[in-house]
Symmetry: C2
Subunit: 492 residues, 2 copies
């Protein structure tokens, strides 16, 4: 049995690492900053990916695949994008290793196999994709292009954390091309809503939809839309972004089209992405000191059945009942497992599945079965109840939906309780230090003030909420006039 999980109160950061590693989602690897996503963690990602993929396809998108490598000359073509990612990119310079003549059994880079042009391992794919779109787009009839890619990307982060910030991560990146500005903006906002829908309805995690301030924009974007979630320690986490790229990439890669009036114009672009970082958000938002708590809709395993018996006769009765429940639940589409491994005791199993966040546990005790009862334990509330075996599968199926809703409601309540208005510098600091969450405060709209607040408080502007109320006021930091409140928070 693995060691205990550090409590949140004791060390929030260590609690998170314990959950990820002891919950068997992921592990460190031999490669600096890269993680191994373990089978349990990957099954979770598969469920998330499949749900998102369906949402993308339902909104008219198709998948494609572009090269892992970006030649340096393409990488540097869109200046701001290049500037934003140059500091953290892995660069391939050679295409061969050879035997090291001075070191038996070792290899060395072959100096004769130096690439003429260095290749950047993609940190994001705008450059390689827009260079390709140039050949795909001639006329307005070729538009829109609504393409998504599921891929690995690499950003050489110096301080990494499992899922939240890793040198390599998995993500999807949508890259769309449009004939008009309006259509591109509509697409940008549409995908933001798709992300919000997914995170709220599948991950049970409420988000705030908004627009980033200029200094928090994606490198190369005209506008960055985002969804922001709140973790249990009061810190915010950016859960997804959708960028309106204007004509920046079309200009950098010379992608023009002839419009309906037969005039040449640059193509309008969007890009949008979510990544395995979402798993980090999921873990931090819902879990407790006993382990993970996974929302039923994406949990790899929704129900586990654990038997308790003594002797062969009881075992036979319990096994038969388990088979029946298993079949009934499977017929309802429930992901369920019967853990009849007799190398481990029931108590060990209880702790193990709690740690792994399985939403519902059914304990099949020979005693209870005599009265046609089984014990049901909910992971989210840790409540237990005895339930009659008649109609059990339907009951459990309904309970999974209840748990999904309850997890969302709980997180929503936490979020609502952690959006607070601050009307002075002192209030802003006090709230950040003692309460956390989103602080709604007036800001004068300048990057200078934003920077000053960040330097002094470590808080950033998470977003300007969509459909934000316009309300005249004074900036809490500079005292200058402000047209609206924005949301500040310390963030992951």
């Amino acid at each position: 049995m693995s060691k205990e999980i550090t409590s949140r109160a004791q060390d929030y950061s260590q609690w998170y690492n314990d959950l990820v590693i002891k919950g068997e989602l992921a592990d460190y690897s031999a490669v600096r900053g890269c993680m191994v996503i373990k089978p349990y963690g990957f099954a979770l990602w598969e469920n998330m990916r499949d749900a998102l993929d369906k949402m993308f396809k339902d909104t008219g998108h198709v998948n494609a695949y572009f090269p892992l490598f970006v030649p340096k000359s393409l990488f540097e073509a869109e200046e701001k994008n290049a500037e934003g990612f140059a500091k953290e990119c892995a660069v391939v310079t050679h295409y061969r290793l050879k035997t090291d003549p001075n070191n038996k059994g070792k290899l060395m880079v072959d100096p004769e196999a130096k690439l003429e042009e260095e290749l950047v391992v993609r940190p994001t794919s705008e450059a390689i994709i827009w260079n390709t779109y140039k050949t795909w787009i001639q006329s307005y009839r070729d538009l829109p292009i609504l393409v998504n890619q599921w891929a690995n990307v690499v950003r050489w982060e110096m301080r990494t954390r499992l899922f939240l910030r890793t040198a390599e991560f998995l993500w999807q990146e949508g890259h769309t091309a449009h004939a008009t500005k309006e259509e591109a903006i509509e697409e940008t906002v549409k995908m933001l809503h798709v992300y919000a829908d997914f995170v709220e309805n599948w991950m049970a995690l409420p988000v705030i939809k908004g627009v980033k301030s200029e200094s928090e924009r994606f490198a190369g974007a005209v506008d960055t839309y985002c969804i922001e979630a709140l973790m249990q320690d009061g810190k915010a986490l950016q859960a997804g972004t959708s960028h309106f790229l204007g004509q920046n990439f079309a200009k950098a890669f010379d992608v023009k089209f002839s419009n309906k009036e037969n005039q040449l114009d640059y193509v309008w672009a969007t890009s949008w992405g979510v990544s395995t970082r979402l798993i980090g958000a999921l873990v931090m938002a819902h879990s407790d000191d006993e382990g993970l708590i996974l929302p039923p809709k994406i949990a790899p395993l929704q129900v586990v059945i654990v038997p308790i018996y003594k002797g062969d006769e009881q075992k036979k009765i319990v096994d038969e009942k388990a088979d029946e429940i298993l079949a009934n639940l499977k017929s309802l589409g429930v992901r369920v497992k019967y853990d009849d491994n007799d190398n481990t005791r029931p108590g060990w199993k209880f702790a193990e599945y709690e740690k792994k966040g399985v939403p519902v546990r059914i304990t099949l005790g020979a005693r209870d079965l005599e009265n046609s009862h089984v014990e049901i334990a909910r992971r989210d509330t840790r409540e237990k109840e005895l339930i009659h075996t008649d109609g059990l599968a339907q009951y459990v199926d309904g309970l999974l939906r209840t748990i999904q809703r309850n997890m969302y409601d709980k997180a929503k309540q936490y979020q609502q309780e952690h959006i607070t208005e601050a009307n002075s510098k002192e209030e802003l600091i006090e709230l950040l230090d003692n309460k956390g969450g989103f602080i709604s405060a007036h800001w004068d709209g300048t990057p200078e003030t934003e920077e000053a607040i960040k330097d002094a408080t470590k808080a950033t502007i998470r977003c300007i909420p969509l459909d934000n109320k316009q309300e005249a006021g004074v900036c809490v930091w500079s005292g200058k006039p402000s047209a609206q409140r924005v949301l500040f928070a310390r963030a992951y």
Copy 2:
């Protein structure tokens, strides 16, 4: 309308490239040897991937994800594997670009950001995975590990061809760990059968299952099992491999377990993979001079409906009928599209969907509809027939199955007609030059003879078929004694 497709007779190799590019499966990219998989090609890959993934899960495997990079010290640990891949690997040496002071707007590798240890972009993942398994495996209770990974890999090939041989490609790689040699061999063979099942029943492509000769083995394997398919030009194509790795990787990475007798032993390994190369095989095996011919079970689009009408009144009748047929086919799970784009004429559409290999075309002519008939065109045989609209969906659904079977049967017949025995050097050469296909011939079992045959004829031993007939004879090349015939062929 895109240019015509080169005929097979004219230039087989160009015909293949035309199909891939004009059929919109893939395209060249700005990165040497890397391709862009276009949406239509990727939809095909998704169907293949999903079918395989289900087969892997049905045989007890789970997915996981391991790092893209392999530190050089791990890469070189298993000597033969390292030797096999060192000559063609992309190497990351730096983790940052910086502004080039001598070249405005350009970036350069930052010499101060040199990695302490070079990272190899994975050409295959045995090294990184077995280095991880070391921490997962202590006891026989931790075994077997049945893990698969869907990933991109990079092998710096000098002569590349779309799908068949690209610097980066997509694949799956299974990596399993076992307590006994027998169990590992059983797994190796089981996955070979899974591959054969998939290629035959989904891709409609018959294969020969066998074992590679020593010199054709995977670098680091004890035995390599393979499935070999035959292309229309008589050349063979290795469609999948499954390796019994013995204890080679366990020894290289010191992965030991305590067995049931509480003794320490090295773990037994297998690995197995298929890649986007399969798409190349699919294209070359089935297509004709008009374009692709895709097997219905994996075709992105199974049925296309094309309307022919004049004027609004006819259009209304045709549209209504199309909607009805569309709904009926969809309810049967058929992937179908109604192409009512009026920017292109029916003749153009016919050619376009032929080129793209859509198995069935339904032409809805206003005239035919007056008699409750529609025209059905099969892509595989190019036969057309008038069919009554009553029960049309069921008919088409059945036709898709017929086409799938017919494609397999045709390929099987071709394969059977192209397995020929040769009993002398002259016969072997004559058959290779004038007929192609698999040549079944006696071989003395030595790598020297194998090499001599390859040098003289460009043919390699494709495999020693499973359950090969043991039959004493003399080697066609050396005249030395031979215990069995093996299959020679020129290959992709």
